[in-house]
């Protein structure tokens, strides 16, 4: 061995013979690039006697060839390109035994573009070790990996504050790094099982307790790993058996699949798939014999009586705990494609063995990688995280995603058969009608009766224009004027709608359209009750305004609030133009989002030069005339 290995600590006694018949516990190592993941794994394997013969020598030879001291990471980075560039390209899996307990260590690459490799390694892990450079603290990939751990359901997180030797194991600096990382994890509803000050390069608090951290009372890394709970058995949960295939052998129809949760036994009654047919388990089949029952994790083959038609993708379950069903799903997406995702894109949603055609109906919010807050957005950036709504053309049976269960593990696949994202299914989307039928009943009070009672007709005045053109100001001023004239009037404006009714929507074209649809529906309800409604919404697209006109039907009038861009930008009452120009808002109407002026508005009010008072008077006069009933003048509200 080379002289550079002086720092090897006394090797703690470790039983590296795995207890046979025990399932290996998978541990994923994550963290920002260069924070020392591969070094840590190399050190861990070496210090616990888990390295294959010759591996250390090969790594030393590789290190020397490149003029480096011992590079622990060369134990892991097996590809030529990885060693030459000093980065881990793809995750690798290493068996590892701690006091007879088998583990599999997965090394996840820290580079951003390798997120898909991290998902590949981390999904299904019982625990994660988050490696953080104690001096640098959490970096973008630290945050990204932490978000991903949450989304894929890894809840047991051990934080290793690495390179503490470079801070001379200063207790105060370690304490402040501990507070920072703990707060970050709490923001994600993750908690840390331990926060360990360590030096992977020198082995402090990895397999052996460091003499340099006398103030530290917590576990070493190996101590922390030894208490990671194994993944819980899913046998006690309700039965879920997704049909993988149906074979016809010897004139028997044999249903095969792996039990995701629960148990199945001969004689059990099963509910079958989308149709909800019911049949009993007639036999369990197997080449070298089979028992009469099976449990979660087993790949089984069975026949049913009666011999109902079953196909791949059908979900077999018991009658007691059926899955949920909806055609509009809320998903917490992790997006793995290198191009952004926009609403309207269509994919195959794979859910266990089932596949459904889905469209991304809306992007509700995107996780900001700066502060991990949910922000409205019109697209999901490459390797971003987002809440989205998936719309299917049929009702999809599913269980909501939760750690420790296999339910709701949706995956999006593109038209080329490529996996482009993970979509843990959270539940039905807010707009879902859940397949329930709705039965609108017409009012017995006619529009004419209402108009007679109010002494004016109802109507919807749809005010469109650029941000800052004065729509809301004008609507509120005209509202006061109209109310004083005895007209029952209300205002629906963009910001008010978005604060409440449409608080779940972003600013994508689809979400804007949905916002407009909702405004039109509410306006119609109010108009049906006899009111005059002033709607102040940018509604930039002619097509969307046409949809609103259709939804409102009678009494719709389009009012164009006209002010040129320069004036609007100069006013910028909400500071939005400035934000858009600075790149903090995208798709902002009037900057990088299009505005299509109405071709034939019922009224044009130019606010560039006129005062608010004059413009409001013009609008009020137009409305008054439009809703007037022949021979009747409105009753003044104050009488």
């Amino acid at each position: 061995m080379s002289a550079t290995l002086r720092v090897v600590p006394a090797q703690p006694a470790n039983d590296t013979v795995a207890t046979e018949n025990e399932l290996a516990t998978r541990i994923v190592i994550v963290g920002h690039v260069d924070h020392g993941k591969s070094t840590l794994i190399g050190r861990l394997l070496h210090d616990t006697g888990n390295l294959p013969e010759g591996r250390m020598d090969a790594a030393l030879a590789s290190s020397e060839r490149r003029g480096l001291k011992v590079e622990w990471s060369f134990l892991l980075d097996s590809l030529q390109a990885e060693r030459d560039q000093g980065v881990t390209i793809d995750s690798t899996r290493l068996p590892f035994v701690l006091d007879g307990r088998p583990f599999v260590i997965v090394d996840a690459p820290g580079h951003r573009q390798f997120l898909r490799n991290m998902v590949t390694g981390a999904a299904g892990a019982a625990a994660a070790v988050l490696v953080v450079d104690v001096a640098e603290g959490a970096q973008e990939q630290t945050r990204r990996h932490a978000v991903l751990l949450r989304l894929i359901g890894v809840r047991h997180v051990v934080v290793l504050l690495n390179k503490a030797d470079l801070l001379d194991f200063d207790a105060d600096r370690v304490a402040s790094a501990t507070r920072a990382i703990t707060a970050l994890l709490e923001q994600l509803e993750l908690s840390s099982a331990a926060v360990i000050p360590a030096s992977a390069r020198h082995g402090d608090n990895v397999a052996a307790r460091s003499a340099r951290t006398g103030w530290y009372r917590g576990p070493t890394l190996t101590e922390a790993l030894s208490v990671v709970p194994p993944l819980a058995s899913r046998a006690e949960r309700p039965l879920r058996l997704p049909v993988q295939d149906v074979y016809r052998f010897d004139s028997k129809r044999i249903v095969v699949g792996r039990i995701e949760s629960g148990r199945v036994a001969v004689g059990d009654t099963l509910v079958i798939g989308r149709e909800g047919a019911v049949a009993k388990v007639a036999t369990l089949e197997g080449w070298l014999g089979s028992g009469t029952e099976a449990e979660a994790g087993q790949s089984v083959a069975l026949t049913l009586a009666p011999d109902v038609v079953v196909e791949r993708g059908d979900l077999l379950h018991g009658s007691a705990y059926p899955p949920s069903r909806t055609a509009r799903l809320r998903a917490r997406l992790f997006w793995l494609r290198q191009e952004p995702l926009r609403p309207g894109e269509s994919f195959r949603l794979r859910l266990s063995t089932a596949e459904y055609a889905v469209t991304v109906a809306a992007i509700t919010s995107v996780v900001s990688m700066d502060d991990l807050t949910d922000q409205p957005a019109d697209h999901v950036p490459p390797e971003g995280f987002a809440d989205v709504v998936l719309a299917a053309s049929e009702s999809i049976p599913f269980d909501p995603f939760e750690p420790g269960s296999l339910g709701g593990r949706g995956v999006l696949v593109d038209g080329h058969g490529r996996i482009v994202g993970g979509a843990p299914l959270i539940g039905p989307a807010p707009l879902a009608t859940g397949g329930r039928s709705v039965f609108p009943v017409d009012s017995a009070v006619s529009a004419w009766e209402r108009a007679q009672a109010k002494r004016h007709r109802s109507g919807v005045f749809w005010m469109t224009g650029l941000p800052g053109s004065g729509k809301s100001t004008l609507a509120r001023a005209a509202e006061t004027l109209l109310f004083r004239r005895g007209i029952d009037v209300s205002v629906l404006d963009g910001d008010t709608l978005r604060a409440r009714l449409s608080s779940d929507l972003g600013f994508s074209p689809e979400d804007r359209r949905e916002n407009i649809r909702r405004a039109a529906v509410v306006a119609r309800l109010l108009a049906d009750s006899g009111q005059v409604v002033l709607v102040a919404l940018i509604s930039p697209r002619a097509e969307d305004r046409a949809m609103a006109r259709q939804a409102v039907a009678e009494g719709f009038r389009e009012v164009y609030v006209d002010a040129d861009r320069a004036v609007c930008k100069a006013r910028d009452p909400k500071g939005l133009y400035a934000a858009a120009r600075a790149g903090r808002l995208s798709g902002f109407t009037g900057v990088d989002g299009p505005y299509e002026p109405p071709q034939a508005p019922d009224l044009v009010i130019s606010t560039a030069t006129a005062t608010v008072g004059n413009s409001a008077e013009r609008l009020a006069a137009f409305v008054t005339e439009a809703v007037a009933l022949p021979g009747l003048s409105p009753r003044v509200g104050a009488d």
Binding site: E20, A24, A81, N117, V119, Y247, G297, S299
Partner: protein, 265 residues
Amino acid sequence: MMTDLDQLEAQSIFVLREAYHRLRPLGLLWSLGKDSNVLLWLARKAFLGRVPLAVYHVDTGKKFPEMYAFRDRYAAEWGLDLRIGACPPVEDIDPTLPPAARSAARKTAGLASVIERDRLAGVVAGIRRDEQATRAKERVFSPRGASHRWDVRNQPPEFWDQFATPVEAGAHVRVHPLLAWRELDVWRYIEREGIPVVDLYFARDGRRYRSLGDQDITAPVPSGARTIPEILAELRGTREAERAGRAMDNETEDAFERLRVAGYL
């Protein structure tokens, strides 16, 4: 309660059934070694005693006589649809490869011509992560373009038991149901299930083959293990790498990586 072997078996059966559903025509590579015998055994479990896919032996012509005898016996006994693929002479292979790797690369070329001839959409192979460091980076479903190259820098995501199934013309998928198995698991499973293996694995005159390849580039290792329990005892006590006797793995630092990138198993 499922043991680790039950779990490995169930997962491999799931992968085989998934490949059989998604990739047609599907072939299974039978190298006559212990791993591909386990693979055939698992296929019979997955398909209830049948092997409903073609079984390919890509023959370098340089295997041990015991291996050919084994092949012919069990192909008949198990009713396999066995197809033999020939390999081109070594003179046709990239001369910049080190000698043993160059010899091993004949198999890559033989495999490529079989895949093209039968227009296979999927090829099931018995490689394992713990055999060799670059194999540790493999996917269960490993898509290959028309050139058959392994694009290690651009592997697809693979999680929650969902596998990439590309649809480009000329592409195929290498399917690796044994990827998560370790050498010890393979032998424990062989013992548990009573799976036949070639006698060369058992010690004669103080040496045995731990890994079987071509006669000229595979060397036996010192061993006194003459039965499966003795092999298990030996493996539990060793930290020596399994493929130490395979010349092409160990010629130069990147020899095996180059072989794999070009389409070797």
